[in-house]
Symmetry: C2
């Protein structure tokens, strides 16, 4: 069975040494009292919870799955899930970055980011139960009426209730404009909702006393397409004026999907049979409100794959040290044993370092994004709020698609380290691969992310957000350009930054005359942009490590960081050479294929 | 549930138009009477069997899996498997390319190759039951005594009995030198075997009346390591002199693995408890004999992924035509519908064409290899026999690792076309991914293949085999170099052929001084070599298609072939740019990482 050690040292390195988070966040009034010790203590406690409480349930949860009683529409989650959730609530973890006015602890979003990375490493399926609540919290916080906030936010903060996002229907996933669930206005100002939803994660379970469904539906007079969608809050149990639970609302789980992975999470088919709900925000502006949830969820999905990358790496490394098989090509290394540990083989190291490099860069990206989210929401300087928003909007599709693509690559490499034993359920590695696979799909497939990046975030604002990020990168290149020791990290970064600017302009012209050109290049473009971001983050991390070593530190952590950064530049970054070629090849080789795809 | 249409047209194109197989095989006396109509009729019947008999059992077989009765050591295979196997035997399919003297039909190996591609598309887990028998047949045919041949070959040919390969033990997979199963000589010249084997595919089942295990074990006086391994044949039921079945031999299935995929195949833990066996070939030369099976099995594994690539493509294409979601970026295409079929989106086409191109090139490679196997075994000209052997030895690691890596890429792309529905078991796409995943591992992991290619097959013979293949490629480039219409296919091929030669020399020098350098470059090297082979095969296929079109053919098959070849060159072949960079980066970025991998 796999094990897990929270990567606290690397988190602290990012938070305190690379991003100087506490000082940066102190510029925000609500975090004025923040101190590093508190953050560290919180992360330590979070890591302990993940490693001791939910991680031991991961493999068994996968084997057991969820079961639905069709008569009562109740779902039983795997053994131990409910008790672990009770501990989570008792520990106050759902409240970590919620507002104090609803009972939250008011810690920065970046603390929640680190908590959830560890929960995802431990048990992605379990983590999705509380994980979905955050999106519901944020959507209601941003768009809910006072009454809705009063009714729901406290219970979501405490974790007594959990939340869901009910978007997908059988005929629509990406294309929400096609959805048909109906909301009929009632004389009392509420609505009755009727329709069928599918793929609702954590859609029904036995872990909390109520479930707060956020549901997209159409009003009777709504315009067609995506401009006629409204958002409703539809609780599993109606809530009385005094906050106590009332009647069961007819929003029922009618089936659970049989999936490739995340078996411990109930992926529900939901039938709304005249269920009572209230409107969130304005009529027909539901997509806008839903995007609050969606953007948080997209970062959350990147975080899921980051968690899986880390835990897969840890277990593959342990196996590679322990499993002996064959001799090193350059002669025996463990002469006292009948064979060498497989860690001696260069290609085993390539697999391990791929996962390690992607974990460390992914963590850096998600911490960087989390800090931007805090600044976007709460920074006193309006310009900084706006810039933070621009940057996080640009980086969100990368954090979702690049981290999850890399997570699938990494978990597969780690599984491969186990040879045939990797294919066996009990060793846990194949579960990481199956769980990681969904992350490339949900909350907008990775192709949808790439179109969002290239079409909306880059070309859509004439490259303004990209220029903003480019300025930050250029400043770093400028500052380190004369530092010979940093050349190995700065040169490839500078090379790609220059190329990407030209390439973006070129693509912009092509897409202007033929919009399909963007669709033919977007996936490659996202991979190239992702490597620019990772090369930048690795250069920043390498700079801190070099400085520490130059100052006399003997902490092997810094040497390890430089080795991983070097591996990244030499072995992963070169992907851009091929991706630039294919992105530039034009869309004709995809579209002039009617005979081939007849 | 997925469907399957045998790709007979593409097989016939390769057999008759590209490789002129029948004429080529007629040079071999045993195939002197071969004609195209017979081959086509056999393939049609084989395709019908696969599509109608085993394909409908694929999804249910995955859900159901195999069950072991621990008391009786008997395994029950999924519903319908046994009956399908009876039909397979009744149809004479196991005998297709076996020798007439043992009841075989004496058809060329290439016919069997096509039969098995279709069986693998239909149901990889089922196909492994008869599939393993072929290796056993070939090892006994090559190394068995007359008595062993007499006892076993007829029953393996008819399919009344099936075969296995018992190599792996808990402490050894890649490193067979570590195996400990013992064989004690008996006064009558037979042996008693004792030990534990794991991961034995088709190791126990209810489909045939006897199972012929080929087992690696050590004689009491055997040298240590891989030079002390002998091969034994150990039947499940002893065989009386008259061919009837005798006592149950104590070679028992003691457990079945819980695996990521191929659930329908019984992956057995086997306990040998003084089981009676006879020696195959010479003492301590078991690995040599086993390599007969292993080489066939490696081509067979490539064939498994080819089959999965084809069937995943077919189902993803059908879905992309039917599923409507969003509008084309260049404006609505299906104006009568509320959205366009997703086939209009360039990136959906990229996914589909990736699978199609890898299926067509993989098929070309495996047909090409199968023809070489026939020539190697039976060609009257000794020089041709030797050359065919050199070429197939060179291409086998590519056919195993490149086709299976690509098959994993392709099945994942096809699953992704289904969006969230791809993650759902009932749609069948996620099963293709799970089944395809084992192919990168068993019969020598893909890293082992890459070391075999670079270390043994290329550098090991000073590049002689590579030069032989290079001469064939060069002749084709030379012949087509003046043909302007072929330039788009010839130019990249010529470019890479030149690069690879230089790169191989460079690597040879590096590896001579530091053997680890080969280990640090081999996986990238195999990918580059694989693309050279595919670029060559696509150029040959394109040439035939262009010639047919120039001669006035209006068959859209040829247009489709050119479109796929163009896609390959533009979108898949450019991987070599990155791979050359990473392969050249040297092994230090992998080995100087002790701090990172502490």
């Amino acid at each position: 069975m796999p094990s897990y050690t929270p990567p606290l040292r690397d988190m602290q390195f990012l938070l305190h040494e690379v991003f100087d988070s506490v000082e940066r966040l102190k510029a925000i009034p609500r975090y004025a009292e923040l101190d590093a010790d508190t953050v560290n203590a919180v992360l330590e406690g979070a890591g302990q919870f993940a490693a001791e409480v939910t991680q031991p349930l991961n493999l068994s949860g996968d084997s057991e799955g969820c079961t639905l009683d069709r008569d009562t529409h109740t779902v039983t989650t795997p053994k131990g899930f409910k008790e672990a959730y009770a501990q989570f609530v008792a520990g106050g973890w759902p409240a970590l970055s919620c507002e104090p006015e609803y009972g939250g602890q008011g810690l920065p979003f970046v603390a929640n980011q680190c908590l959830y990375e560890m929960l995802n490493s431990a048990n992605q399926a379990w983590t999705m139960y509380p994980g979905l609540s955050h999106g519901a919290y944020e959507a209601l916080h941003a768009y809910g009426s006072d009454a809705q906030k009063q009714t729901y936010l406290g219970k979501l903060t405490s974790g007594e209730w959990t939340g869901t996002m009910c978007l997908t229907e059988p005929q629509c996933g990406t294309d929400l404009g096609l959805l048909t669930t109906k909301a009929e206005p009632q004389p009392d100002g509420s609505y009755r909702l009727t329709g069928s939803k599918i793929f609702i994660s954590a859609g029904e379970h036995d872990m909390a006393e109520n479930i707060v469904h956020l549901v997209l539906a159409r009003l009777p007079d709504a315009p067609k397409g995506s401009k006629g969608i409204s958002l409703f809050v539809v609780p599993k149990f109606l809530v009385n004026d005094d906050g106590s639970l009332g009647a069961r609302n007819p929003i029922y789980c009618t089936g659970l999907e049989h999936k490739m992975g995340i078996h411990g999470n109930a992926t529900a088919q939901i039938s709304l049979e005249g269920a009572a709900g209230t409107l969130v925000g304005e009529p027909n502006k539901g997509l806008q409100a839903m995007f609050i949830m969606m953007n948080a969820a997209r970062l959350g999905v990147g975080n899921q794959s980051l968690g899986l990358t880390e835990v897969a790496f840890q277990n593959a490394l342990a196996y590679a040290k322990e499993r002996i098989q064959m001799r090193s090509l350059s002669g025996p290394k463990a002469k006292d044993k009948p064979a060498d540990p497989i860690l001696v083989h260069p290609d085993v190291r390539r697999s391990l370092l791929t996962a390690k490099a992607y974990a460390e860069a992914g963590r850096a990206l998600l911490v960087y994004c989390a800090l931007l989210v805090d600044e976007h929401l709460y920074h006193p300087d309006e310009k900084r709020r706006k810039q933070a928003n621009q940057l996080v909007a640009l980086l969100t599709p990368i954090a979702k698609a690049f981290v999850t693509d890399n997570g699938f690559i990494a978990t597969n490499e780690c599984m491969q380290v186990f040879g045939g034993h990797g294919y066996i359920h009990e060793n846990g590695m194949e579960q990481f691969v199956r769980d990681a696979r969904i992350n490339l799909i949900y909350e907008g497939t990775n192709t949808v992310q790439s179109l969002d990046l290239l079409g909306r975030k880059v070309l859509g604002d004439q490259g303004a957000a990209l220029k903003l990020f480019g300025k930050e990168v250029a400043a770093f290149i400028e500052a380190e350009g004369v530092n010979e020791a940093m050349a190995e990290f700065i040169n490839p970064l500078a090379f790609l930054a220059d190329k990407l600017t030209k390439f973006t302009t070129e693509l912009g012209f092509k897409a202007f005359t033929s919009p399909d050109e963007a669709g033919g290049a977007s996936v490659d473009y996202l991979r190239v942009a992702g490597h620019l971001v990772y090369a930048y983050l690795f250069a920043r991390m390498a700079k801190v490590a070099q400085t520490a070593l130059a100052a006399g530190s003997t902490d092997p952590f810094y040497t390890a960081k430089l080795q991983t950064a070097r591996f990244y530049v030499a072995r992963l970054f070169p992907e851009v050479a091929s991706r630039m070629q294919t992105a530039r090849s034009g869309v004709a080789n995809l579209l002039d294929t009617d005979a081939a795809l007849a």
